[in-house]
C-alpha cells in the first residue's frame, strides 16, 4: 500500500487541477452565454438571408452570372478547391478541434488541388506540423466573431475566386444542433448552387420580380453580401460550439477529479488506519516485552 504522504500529495495536486478546470468551466459558461445571445440575434437574419436568396433565385431561372459559374470547362485535375476550416484558438475542449480537422482531411483527400484557409490557432498548428501548405497571410482568430472580420474574410476569398485562383470554396465548421450535440459540417460558398436553396425554405412562390437597377448589378452586390452574412453566421455558430465543447469537457474533468479524490480519500483513510494499528501493535508488543523482562 502506498504511504500516507504520497497519497496526500496526490490529492493535493488533484485538488489544484480541479480548481483550474472548475474556473475554466465557469469562464466558458459565461462566454457561452454571450455567444448564445449573439447567435440568437443573428439567427433571424441568417434564416431570412437564405430564404430571401432562395426566393430571388426562384424568380430568375435563366440566369448567367460569374458567381454561379461552376467552371465546367475546366478539367477536374486543374480545378483548385479552397477550404476554410474553423477551429478554436486553444485546446482543452474535448473532441471539438479533432472532429473538424478530421472532416477537413477527409474532404481534402477527395480532390487533387486544394488550398487551405484556417481560422484558429489549433488548426494552423496541426496542419503546419503535418507539412500541409496553408495560406500564411490568412490570419484570423476564432474569438468573438465580428461582422468586420466576416467581411474581410469574404472579400479576400471572393477575390481569389474571381481571379480563378480558386474554383470552388467550402467552409468547414462545427454546427450546434442542440446544447449537447455538435457536428462538423461542410457548406459550399462559391459557386452558388440553386439546389441548395430549394430546400432552404418553404415559402409560396409568386410572380416574377424585377431587378433594379439591373440583375447583374444586384447580384454583384447581393452575393458578396450574402457570403458575408453566411460567414458571420458560421463564425458565431463555431464560436458558441467551441465554448459549449469546452464547458462540457471541463465539467466532466471536474467531476472525474472529484471521483478520483473520493477514491484516494478512501485509500488515504485505510493507509492511515493501518499505520495507527501498526503503531498500537508496536507499542503494545513493546510494553509486553518490557513486562516480560520485569518478571
Amino acid at each position: 500500500m502506498a504511504n500516507v504522504r504520497e497519497i496526500k500529495d496526490r490529492m493535493g495536486s488533484i485538488n489544484d487541477i480541479m480548481k483550474i478546470t472548475n474556473a475554466m468551466y465557469l469562464i466558458s459558461s459565461s462566454k457561452l452565454k454571450k455567444a448564445k445571445k449573439s447567435l440568437e440575434a443573428t439567427v433571424p437574419y441568417f434564416d431570412q438571408l437564405q430564404s430571401t436568396i432562395h426566393h430571388i433565385l426562384k424568380h430568375t431561372p435563366e440566369f448567367e452570372h460569374v458567381y454561379f459559374d461552376s467552371r465546367s470547362n475546366k478539367p477536374e485535375d486543374k480545378k483548385t478547391y479552397g477550404y476554410i476550416v474553423v477551429t478554436g484558438d486553444k485546446g482543452l475542449c474535448g473532441s471539438y478541434n479533432h472532429n473538424v480537422l478530421k472532416l477537413a482531411e477527409q474532404e481534402m483527400s477527395k480532390h487533387k488541388n486544394t488550398s487551405l484557409f484556417i481560422i484558429g490557432q489549433v488548426g494552423r498548428q496541426y496542419f503546419s506540423r503535418r507539412k500541409v501548405m496553408i495560406d500564411g497571410e490568412f490570419l484570423y482568430t476564432a474569438q468573438n466573431p465580428t461582422l468586420y472580420r466576416a467581411r474581410s474574410i469574404a472579400e479576400s476569398l471572393t477575390d481569389l475566386y474571381l481571379n480563378e485562383a480558386l474554383d470552388e470554396i467550402y467552409v468547414i465548421f462545427t454546427k450546434m444542433i442542440t446544447a449537447a450535440k455538435m457536428e462538423p459540417e461542410v457548406i459550399r460558398l462559391l459557386p452558388m448552387e440553386r439546389e441548395r436553396f430549394k430546400t432552404a425554405a418553404g415559402r409560396t412562390p409568386h410572380h416574377d420580380a424585377v431587378f433594379s437597377p439591373s440583375p447583374e448589378k444586384v447580384m454583384d452586390h447581393l452575393v458578396p453580401n450574402y457570403l458575408k452574412g453566411l460567414l458571420y453566421g458560421v463564425l458565431i455558430e463555431a464560436f458558441s460550439s467551441e465554448q459549449n465543447a469546452r464547458m462540457t469537457a471541463m465539467d466532466s474533468a471536474t467531476s472525474s477529479a472529484k471521483d478520483m479524490i473520493k477514491e484516494l480519500n478512501l485509500l488515504y483513510n485505510r493507509a492511515r488506519q493501518a499505520a495507527i494499528t501498526q503503531e498500537i501493535t508496536e507499542i503494545v508488543s513493546g510494553a509486553k516485552s518490557q513486562q516480560n523482562k520485569k518478571n
Binding site: 440575434a41 437574419y45 420580380a209 433594379s212 453580401n225
Partner: protein
C-alpha cells in the same frame, strides 16, 4: 387597395422592426427609392444612407449600411448589415471613425484598402448626418 404593407427590417445582429408601414424611402445604389403599398415585385440593393418609413402618419428614420431588399406588393423585407436609430448612434465614435478614415485616405493605399476606407468614411458621415438632422 390596401393602405399599408408589412415591413420587416432585419439587421445582422437584431430584428430591427416588424410591422405595418405606409410608405418607405430607401437609399439604393443609384439613388433614393420610394415604395408605396402595392409596388411591383422588385429586388434591389441598399447602400449606406438614411432609411425613412412612415407608420401611422409619422415618419421614422434610421441609419442603414449595405444590404438588400425584397419588395412584394404586400410586404417588404430589408436585410442589412447594420440598422440604427438616430438616438442609438454614438456621435463620438462616428466622429473618431470619420477622422481615422480621412487620415488613412491621405496615405498611399492599395485599391482594396482604398475602397474599405472609403466605405468606412461613408458609414461614419452617414451616421453623423442622421444624428445632426434629428438633433434639430
Amino acid at each position: 387597395m390596401a393602405k399599408t404593407f408589412h415591413l420587416d427590417i432585419i439587421a445582422s445582429d437584431k430584428y430591427f422592426f416588424s410591422g405595418e408601414c405606409e410608405e418607405l424611402v430607401f437609399p439604393g445604389i443609384d439613388g433614393l427609392y420610394g415604395i408605396l403599398p402595392g409596388h411591383e415585385p422588385m429586388i434591389s440593393c441598399l447602400s449606406s444612407g438614411e432609411l425613412r418609413f412612415k407608420i401611422d402618419g409619422e415618419w421614422q428614420n434610421a441609419a442603414v449600411s449595405d444590404g438588400f431588399l425584397e419588395i412584394m406588393p404586400t410586404f417588404v423585407k430589408i436585410l442589412a448589415d447594420a440598422v440604427e436609430r438616430p438616438e442609438d448612434i454614438d456621435r463620438k465614435r462616428a466622429e473618431a471613425a470619420k477622422e481615422r478614415a480621412e487620415e488613412q485616405l491621405r496615405q498611399k493605399l492599395s485599391i482594396k484598402q482604398y475602397y474599405h476606407t472609403q466605405a468606412a468614411l461613408n458609414r461614419a458621415m452617414n451616421r453623423l448626418r442622421i444624428t445632426s438632422k434629428s438633433a434639430k
